[in-house]
């Protein structure tokens, strides 16, 4: 799990695999969800002091804000009102769109009218000894 969770995401692939970028990516994955800095550090496999340092910097810049305290643990959430955060989110969504487009399987040719040369032919149609498959599907 940790190996998989620690793999480079699409956002870091595009903008560089640095610790601040990885934290930013984590923040955008948890867009509407609050999180504890300790959990984030564990998931991203970075040291807690470094994570607190970067989150402190992000708080000063206005990227994150304190949300609530649960049993002495301070939770943080992404500040979606910030203009720069809106820009980051837009880029992150665009990265996800590209991943979705690249990985979605090509739709199979369900409608025979949309048959094109090079598509799969399920059955060939013969009229006597003449192969009329191409003619039936509107090919040359």
């Amino acid at each position: 799990m940790n190996e998989r969770m620690n793999e480079i995401g699409a956002f870091c692939e595009a903008y560089g695999n640095t610790i601040p970028n990885r934290i930013l990516e984590y923040l955008m994955e948890n867009e509407d969800l609050d999180f504890a800095v300790g959990d984030m550090a564990k998931e991203l496999q970075i040291s807690k002091p470094k994570a607190y340092e970067i989150i402190g910097g992000f708080e000063k810049k206005g990227y994150v804000k304190k949300s609530r305290i649960v049993s002495k643990t301070q939770l943080y959430a992404l500040n979606k009102d910030d203009k720069r955060v809106k820009l980051f989110l837009k880029d992150f969504k665009e990265c996800l769109r590209i991943v979705a487009e690249e990985n979605s399987e090509k739709a199979l040719c369900e409608d025979p009218l949309t048959y094109k040369e090079g598509d799969y032919i399920l059955a060939r149609v013969f009229l006597g000894k003449i192969d009329i498959t191409q003619k039936m599907y509107g090919g040359a």
């Binding site: 799990m1 998989r4 867009e31 959990d39 649960v70 992150f92 769109r97 487009e101």
Partner: protein, 87 residues
């Protein structure tokens, strides 16, 4: 849409956990639902079950060292739907 479910789908899409690539369900759910209250968790569970029933997220039992665990991955045939959900 439930924020935890949105976070799970975003993470899986960002890390390209699609089709044959999978991660353990339990650890994933724990990390994204740790700070939820009971009512919020119940709401999440309902939506999560619907997502699995609609085959947007695929759930497979995988052999591990000590036995077997449920693993999850995104359905490659429904990536566009998933993207629309989190947009």
């Amino acid at each position: 849409m439930n924020p935890s479910l949105k976070a799970i789908i975003s993470l899986m899409l960002n890390k390209k956990i699609i089709g044959g690539k999978h991660i353990p369900e339990e650890k994933m759910l724990k990390s994204k639902t740790k700070w939820l209250q009971k009512e919020e968790y119940n709401e999440f569970e309902k939506e999560y079950r619907d997502t699995i029933n609609n085959q947007l997220i695929l759930k497979i039992k995988k052999r591990t060292g000590k036995g077997s665990d449920w693993h999850v991955s995104l359905n490659p045939r429904k990536l566009k739907e998933l993207y629309e959900m989190i947009r």
